[in-house]
């Protein structure tokens, strides 16, 4: 929603600027004396150069700050923890609670936040599921925590979003989101298979 609002507003600004330019080029200004030019300068530059960008900035910060807030990981204790390690060119997915390890697929319950602990075994990768959350890098020597939350069960495509060498393009993965009950069942089944 926000994106479309922002994109729409910005498109309007863009069209406005281009039209303004066309009119400015076409029109015959008549005689403009220095005093008139001075007045015009103040009006245009203060209006367009200071007020306009300030309004735009405030307009996107007001919804932006709370959204940023919501993306902060919450306390680590009571959420499902999944450890994901980037390799050239695959993802190792590990569930520390059950000792389960998967390759290029993540399973998680719907409706509750999950913490993805990101690490890298070699170069920098970036874990990204476009429809669920922003991306976060997996960097050698560092651990980053991404809060992931899906409202609806289903399968979501993910990709590596930081260039990591020859087969970077093929470093995709899938996130399977189950209802909480299905997820418990899956977890038990998978742990038995193991």
């Amino acid at each position: 929603m926000l994106w479309w609002g922002m994109a729409g507003a910005f498109t309007l600004v863009w069209i406005f600027m281009v039209v303004l330019w066309l009119v400015a080029v076409r029109r015959d200004p008549g005689e403009v004396d220095d005093a008139a030019a001075e007045r015009l300068q103040t009006r245009w530059i203060v209006g367009g150069g200071l007020v306009l960008p300030l309004v735009a900035i405030i307009a996107i910060l007001i919804p932006g700050i709370p959204i940023g807030h919501g993306m902060l990981p919450t306390a680590d204790d009571d959420v499902l923890k999944i450890e994901v390690t980037g390799h050239q060119w695959w993802w190792e997915v590990h569930y520390p609670d059950t000792g389960l390890t998967l390759e290029d697929e993540v399973h998680m319950p719907a409706g509750v936040p999950v913490h993805i602990h990101l690490r890298s075994a070699d170069v920098i990768h970036s874990f990204w599921v476009p429809r669920l959350a922003g991306k976060l890098d997996a960097i050698p020597g560092h651990e980053n925590v991404l809060k992931l939350e899906a409202d609806e069960p289903g399968s979501y495509r993910g990709a590596c979003a930081e260039f990591c060498g020859a087969l970077h393009a093929h470093m995709g993965f899938v996130v399977h989101v189950h209802t909480v009950n299905d997820f418990e069942a899956w977890l038990e089944g998978a742990a038995e298979d193991d």
């Binding site: 700050i65 940023g68 807030h69 902060l72 990981p73 306390a75």
Partner: protein
């Protein structure tokens, strides 16, 4: 040459802004490395407080400098001096505004997460 039209005022405001920015980012990083406040504290902790305090001091200082140049601009009758003092005053003013704006998130976000 009066002091307010010295060319150093063309850049001094932004130099201060930059130094402040380095201190802001540096203090935050070092603070989080050395003595990170507990996660429950939200924005009420020593790091946010000191960042905010430093920022306020800088804003006030820059604003005063801007006002000083502006007064010099109003009384000066020579065009070179007027040019220099006006631009300098605007630089100080905008530096103060930029300081305030960049410091604003200190009021909203906890420091180290």
């Amino acid at each position: 040459m009066s002091r307010a039209e010295h060319p150093v005022h063309l850049v001094a405001g932004l130099v201060v802004w930059m130094l402040w920015f380095v201190v802001l980012y540096g203090l935050l990083s070092v603070g989080c490395a050395v003595a990170p406040p507990g996660p429950g504290q939200g924005i009420w902790n020593w790091i946010n407080a000191s960042l905010w305090l430093i920022s306020l001091v800088v804003v006030v200082g820059l604003a005063l400098a801007g006002w000083w140049c502006w007064r010099a601009a109003i009384v000066s009758d020579e065009s070179h001096a007027r040019f220099m003092t006006r631009v300098s005053a605007a630089i100080y003013g905008l530096s103060a505004a930029a300081t305030l704006a960049v410091a604003l998130p200190v009021l909203f976000y906890p420091p180290c997460v």
